[in-house]
Symmetry: D2
Subunit: 232 residues, 4 copies
């Protein structure tokens, strides 16, 4: 069986028939999915300028679905009333944006401003939030974009779930195939060459985004279960 | 009855015989405390240079206790082995530091570095985290200190709970007695005159810190209940 | 003569016939304006959603002009080719934006993205940069907006000049009429009530923005003189 | 002659007999060094936990010296009165720190706090400032450390000079030997394996730090010349 496992920290990365899958054993083991467990609803609200961030958004979606969530996939520059309703109904929202010129994109900021009505009414209070971003440099100013997303989430009284992966590619024998190869914690950070198409989004970054989606689904499930238990 | 109620947003601030209390009606209402609900364990890990941040730490402690938590109170510059064990056992850790010269204090950073062993073993993964800070200016660089705390928490794979209060003192008829009078969201921000003693910590800032403690206790309770329910 | 002087730190604030002027004695004294001194060119590139930030931009303009600069005044959401040329020709660019939902406005980010061609060619390298922002809260997330502006400036290889004022309103006898009443350093931060019109922009914030304009003009003059001297 | 030139953007990187040198042609060309040009005084004030940051500090020193500066080299955890005097006399100060647990090191923060007397008296006002940092991850939270350094510099009313290099290693055919291989702008960011000794500090990161030293020297020279010209 052509299974190549790159192991780093708690997470496993599988390559099978050219596709990359991931599994964070600890997280998924610790959250048994039983018949009575409510399905967490995760929304991925992202802006993508040239398609790279959309590739990551897809990975977040797949990760969340594999972890048992029902996912709403929302490109924010064409958001519909139905999708706003999906955001309002979600247990968790994962924000995604390129990092452009030192911060999140104008397209994502326009979405953030469009949430101001919900901010005033605390509509999203206590939902889980998370974030991911992409730019052409290994570091770049991606941390600014993630810091902004935590500020946005905090204004909505949301609860921030970080990436939950040890950093990769940061030891003598480590490689760029490690999960979290760039070493982010607040969220998932990806790097795609400035002259590369969407097919050049790095497999590790895709897997890392997938991990974020799964982690958010898991955390949303815990939160929903907790709220239900206390209301019982 | 000499009860003065300053109402702002969802939160209520009571002044009674010179003491200030707070109650966030919505949060507490939504989390019924029944006999079977486990008691959340909250730790307040703070550094205080001249005692002002300690006043806020006390307020966080009282807020968490009023919301039903068992609280460990830990000045990090004299932390003991027993207190490290309390941090390891906590469901939530609230970080506190003054903002000095553009960031958190050296004393708090020394504590942060001392957590690096626990970082490597993900000991604090999935605990709830929150933060508060104090400086002499209304804004100052407090947001840098809070951003640092979110980074520290994310490195530990913790889950960040923000202040959860609408901003106060930001409308024509608003006053500095509003909760969250300085307008922070990531955590609680306080302002004490540079030439003022610990008795000059502002009553609104104390109440705001108390709110943060209560909110953390409530969120920790939900998380503990959720983990228990899924493990059942 | 109805002259009221609010003195704080090195700067003086004058109120005359309802208008507020300022003068930073030290800065201006240290930069004599002689016949042979070239006139520094300062551009104010700002986005204003409801007019409050435009009031600050006007103050920056007046401050820079009083300090001897020739000023281009550029609302970036309607920027013309001629104004792009003014930016390219400027010795210094002062960025301005509201802080909305945790960061600079989408309108300002759109401008930032539109500078990417100049980023690729380093067109603005070594120009002086500075920034100002406004929001409804005393602190709010204004520091995020200023941090973003420093990142934008750094991507352009610009040189960042901060506010250059001690913080005001941060001592027992200090008042909100102090310059830099909110305590910012990276740039000028203003606070206007969320329900207040442009006439409610605070006089201290206007004077503080004026100081920033003057400081930028002074620093641009030094830079231009230095470059000329070395090229002689 | 075994000269290998890696060309990227405006900067050139030379490898000769195993040592790496750099030269930024444009910057150096634009600032002729004549007999009458005053020598800029640059101080490198850094904390290094395990020696990696000290390697970068050495590179900054060499870069500044090659560009004609007189350099004071100051490990801040053992700073002497004479070295404080060197800082006070410097035209430019380059800050250096590891990034530990999400921010600058406690050792560097202790130094920052020790500057508070000079902050109160504006002793360092209008000096040039810059910064560099190192951590084990490609990105890590290095941007937080650099953002903190800009805040520290702004509190001192210093003028921030960024790295001034286009990002490297961010295109399809780019390599990790590019200058600024990690893509930083606010300052120089380096990455050294967590299990690697000081000999594993990357040659590109060393060259990048050297570039920063040279750039700071050049900018300090311009500033000194400008101040002199205006005082004439």
């Amino acid at each position: 069986m052509p299974l190549i496992v790159h192991q780093h920290s708690k997470a496993h990365l599988y390559s099978f028939r050219g596709l990359i899958y991931f599994r964070d054993l600890v997280d998924l083991r610790s959250t048994p999915v039983t018949a009575s467990t409510p399905t967490p609803r995760v929304a991925v609200a992202f802006h993508s300028g040239y398609g790279h961030t959309a590739v990551l958004a897809e990975a977040v979606r797949r990760g969340a679905e594999k972890a048992g969530a029902e996912v709403a996939f929302i490109p924010v520059d064409a958001i519909t009333d139905e999708q706003w309703a999906q955001l309002d109904a979600a247990d968790a929202i994962v924000f995604g944006s390129p990092t452009y010129m030192g911060g999140a994109s104008a397209g994502f900021h326009a979405f953030a401003e469009a949430t101001s009505g919900r901010y005033l009414t605390s509509t999203w209070a206590d939902k889980i939030a998370a974030g991911f971003t992409n730019s052409a440099s290994k570091s770049g100013d991606k941390l600014n974009a993630l810091n902004f997303m935590t500020a946005l989430a905090a204004q909505h009284h949301m609860i921030w779930v970080g990436l939950g992966l040890a950093p990769g590619w940061n030891a003598l024998t480590a490689t760029e195939d490690d999960l979290n190869r760039l070493g982010f914690w607040l969220g998932a950070g990806a790097q795609t060459p400035q002259d590369g198409g969407t097919e050049t989004v790095h497999s590790s970054d895709i897997a890392t985004a997938g991990h974020l989606g799964a982690r958010v689904a898991v955390q949303a499930r815990i939160r929903v279960a907790g709220t239900s238990a206390l209301a019982a």
